[in-house]
Symmetry: C2
Subunit: 327 residues, 2 copies
């Protein structure tokens, strides 16, 4: 039998963490022959609730779940982690400015970056879900000097999957028929869901839908989908976010399908003229546990301006946390 | 590609339904090559929340999920259902007697039995999760005269899995090393988690743990585990209950492993002297979509008295709802 993979989840007693832990433990992330050890990290106030999550995991009698560690100590939580999924973050409180939100979370993710640097496996792969996810990932990476910045990513897979769902609905096709969807930019309102390279059963999506639908309906709906869910459920997206985590990490670890790509927020290497060093969502292919930004896509003037807008936002976020970017 | 399986889930916007729907849709119940159609049923007050669940399912872009139907009309919800998972039930309100709880739910499950009879596939398989689950299953079956009572079951798989987890902990083994666990009786405090036939790596469990541990710690802990979870989480078991639903239905549909069995509450045929016609948890094997009660197990005097106690409770519950047992 394979030796177990160690997966750390922060904020594991929250809604997304609760929806995620059981799916990882049941084998959905790494496949039916890969045992896992869950290391669940929470803030001290959530330890009783986390204890309940641990009991429920035990109650599932999952054959692949070889051990569960529950802790509020990052040094223990990240110990030897092969994957670190950073969900826990400070939510925006009433009256809080966006810059305050960024600063508050920057402190959390700087500390987690240091703990990952010092305690995780040297090959650890990190996915940041807690918002502002892209800048949080940047800060964590900047505070882990012994690791490669390519080991740190942020999640735009939920946006990517939402875009697949909306296009499938509109074209009356199955999501499995759609390839080459792309989310560019920041996981925020400035993200750019791009149909320009997308195929539906091999046919360009923009031959099946109008440009007006794409601009006036599709793009804003993906950008605002989170708010739409909150309005209907009275709670923010949890199970769908957890599902996107499973997809992001599984594809990173096990590879993307031939002829298709996925959207991941990764450290920009300057591709498509995006400023180097910010965490930006690109189309990527994965193989052998490594991602590669898809090169050579044609972008029209509208697309370029959308990318630029999201880049400017991310540069602005980086400026707010400048003093936390060194160790 | 296989034609989709239709799965109806009632109470789909509740905690267990929310934890379950995404796992069914991702292929965990019927395997990675079996498309599914989800038919999600809720009470009118929960339709907005259910709509949110539907949007989140769409947002997962799950390739196996071919359609989603959201409704508060049982005639639509159960239409052509191959599997009906009845989770929604009236919870016990403050000051409510247990007999009131039974009666209130009896009305709900009588109506659902009729709707299943009239609208579901003639081969539908029903799992009742909403409490009192065993008697609710009995009532649903009694109100579906065109169907075989063997098509109706209630869930004791969560108790079964909890028992596996506790024994694995105690013996310091993996749950995969344990076979032939049994839960007998009612899904209630009178249930009897029985180690008498259980094996750990092929060794009788009762050679590895003391009889005192089994009687004083193991049995009461399984019986009271639900309360223990509520105390820790502040919420009742949801993800672990959903996991048990996946296990129950998957094993019923796809079969139990050679040399092992699972616990399912099914219509008693008089096996082990249990009164015929009540829904009672037995050890069962499954093959070809049918279950078979394991025969010929040795039960000592203590076990017989425990079975009798749970049987008496179920006969008492049946007496309370006598007038709802005919169509």
């Amino acid at each position: 039998m394979k030796s177990p993979v160690r997966v750390t989840i922060t904020g594991a007693a929250g809604h997304i963490g609760y929806a995620l832990a059981f799916r990882v433990a049941s084998g959905e992330m790494f496949g039916p022959d890969q045992p896992v050890i869950l290391r669940l990290l929470e803030i001290p106030q959530a330890l009783s609730s986390l204890n309940g999550v641990g009991m429920e995991l035990e109650d599932c009698a999952l054959p692949l779940l070889h051990d569960i560690v529950l802790t509020d100590d990052p040094a223990i939580g990240f110990r030897e982690a092969d994957y670190a999924i950073l969900i826990g973050a400070k939510p925006r409180a009433k009256g809080m400015e966006r810059s305050d939100l960024i600063t508050e979370n920057a402190k959390i993710f700087a500390a987690q970056g240091r703990a990952i640097n010092d305690h995780a496996s040297p090959d650890v792969r990190v996915l940041v879900v807690g918002n502002p996810a892209n800048t949080n990932a940047l800060i964590a990476a900047a505070n882990a000097p012994d690791l490669d910045k390519r080991q740190f990513t942020a999640m735009t897979r939920l946006d990517h999957n939402r875009a697949l769902g909306q296009l499938a609905n509109k074209t009356n096709r199955l999501v499995a028929d759609i390839t080459r969807m792309t989310i560019w930019g920041n996981h925020s309102m400035t993200q750019y869901p791009d149909l320009g390279n997308c195929l539906v059963e091999g046919v360009p999506a923009l031959e099946l839908v109008t440009r007006d639908w794409a601009i006036d309906h599709f793009i804003p709906r993906i950008q605002r989908r989170g708010a739409e869910i909150i309005e209907a459920r009275g709670l923010s997206s949890a199970a769908s976010a957890a599902d996107a985590v499973v997809d992001h990490v599984r594809d990173w670890a096990l590879g993307t399908p031939e002829g298709d790509w996925v959207s991941m927020s990764v450290i920009s290497d300057g591709s498509y003229g995006v400023a180097e060093g910010i965490v930006f969502s690109f189309p990527v292919t994965c193989a052998g546990g490594e991602y590669r930004i898809v090169q050579g896509l044609e972008l029209d003037a509208l697309s370029h301006s959308r990318l630029k807008k999201s880049e400017q936002e991310l540069l602005g976020e980086r400026a707010v946390v400048e003093d936390l970017l060194g160790r």
